[in-house]
Amino acid sequence: MKIIDGFVLRPLGEEFIVIGEGISQINFNKMISLNSTAAFLWENVEGKDFTVEDLTKLLTDNYEVEEERAAADAAAIAAKWIEAGIVSE
């Protein structure tokens, strides 16, 4: 999967948001808030093709988390991003 062109990660206070700033997102109809872990994942897959396994590995390499739990979290985050229309399958 891949981040759809034009979506940008921005820090907002102590949170993070992804907003459409590209020409195809001109009507500003999509925005999603991210916690710091999701923001870390986003930064690491920006501009790349990635899989749920890549997200899982980023979690297990950088956080104290069991592989099984990391895989479940990664799948949930990917599904949320696809549902929000900010990542393409």
Binding site: G6, V8, R10, L12, G13, E15, I17, I19, G20, E21, G22, I23, Q25, I26, F28, M31, S33
Partner: protein, 294 residues
Amino acid sequence: MDSQMQERSFKVAGHIFSLRMDEKEALWSALDNYAPFIFEGDEERIFTLELVQDLDVDGKEPLYVSTPEEFEQRIDIYTIPDGYVFELAPFGNVPVCGWMKVSSDFSKACLKAEKARRFCINNALMLLYAFRTSGMGTLEMHASVTVKDGHGFLFLGKSGTGKSTHSSLWLKNIPGTHLLNDDNPIVRFIDGETRVYGSPWSGKTPCYRNEDYPVGAFVRINRAPHDAIHRMNLPESFASVSSSSSGLRAIRSIGDGLFATISSIVQSVPCYVMDCLPDDEAAIVCSNEVLKNV
């Protein structure tokens, strides 16, 4: 040819800009909305717009070409090697009648206007203002603004949701209120404070006040079968103010500037969503809540 250019300057929300047209141009007398904003000092102008008879817009590449509805205005944007070209029309179903060529930093522009010339000049100035000031802590917003107790309250919402109606309900039901602007106020974040300013652009309501106030609240108007107000969280506040602010975020410098300004504003001023009917009760419910948090 016996013609001479005349230049007039205007100061809107602290930013000074100039308009140049032939001194005999009939449009000078059709720009009453700018009268309260005339500026005669010699401080630096942030941009100059010149009305011209001929304009070469060859070699343009589309950046944003819109598909407006019949009664929506058209604003299309093209890139050229050293800037941008804007094409304007007052309605979606009429041909383009204004062409504006703009330098890449939005400080210099030439406009050719064949028809709807007042529309073209007002919109050219609004576009230049929004694009040029986006990195200066300034927002050009789509809102109706009412003043009460020395604070400005901005009502946001898509066209037709009842921003102006809600303002008029405040004027009718809340003593000591007045209208600052009914369509396009300017909002600035300066020295840690968010302020709202009147402008020469106020939609269909001729309300061109050169006044400014600290912002008391942003209130998104949402048509509903009841009257209720609640405060938004930070991401919701950001989305609300952002979707009502002018500027093409796809131009990176503009996107960065707008983000910085809106982010500061929504962390300093409360933002609400007001579910309401167009009734007197709506103004009372809304004012009771927002005034107690000023």
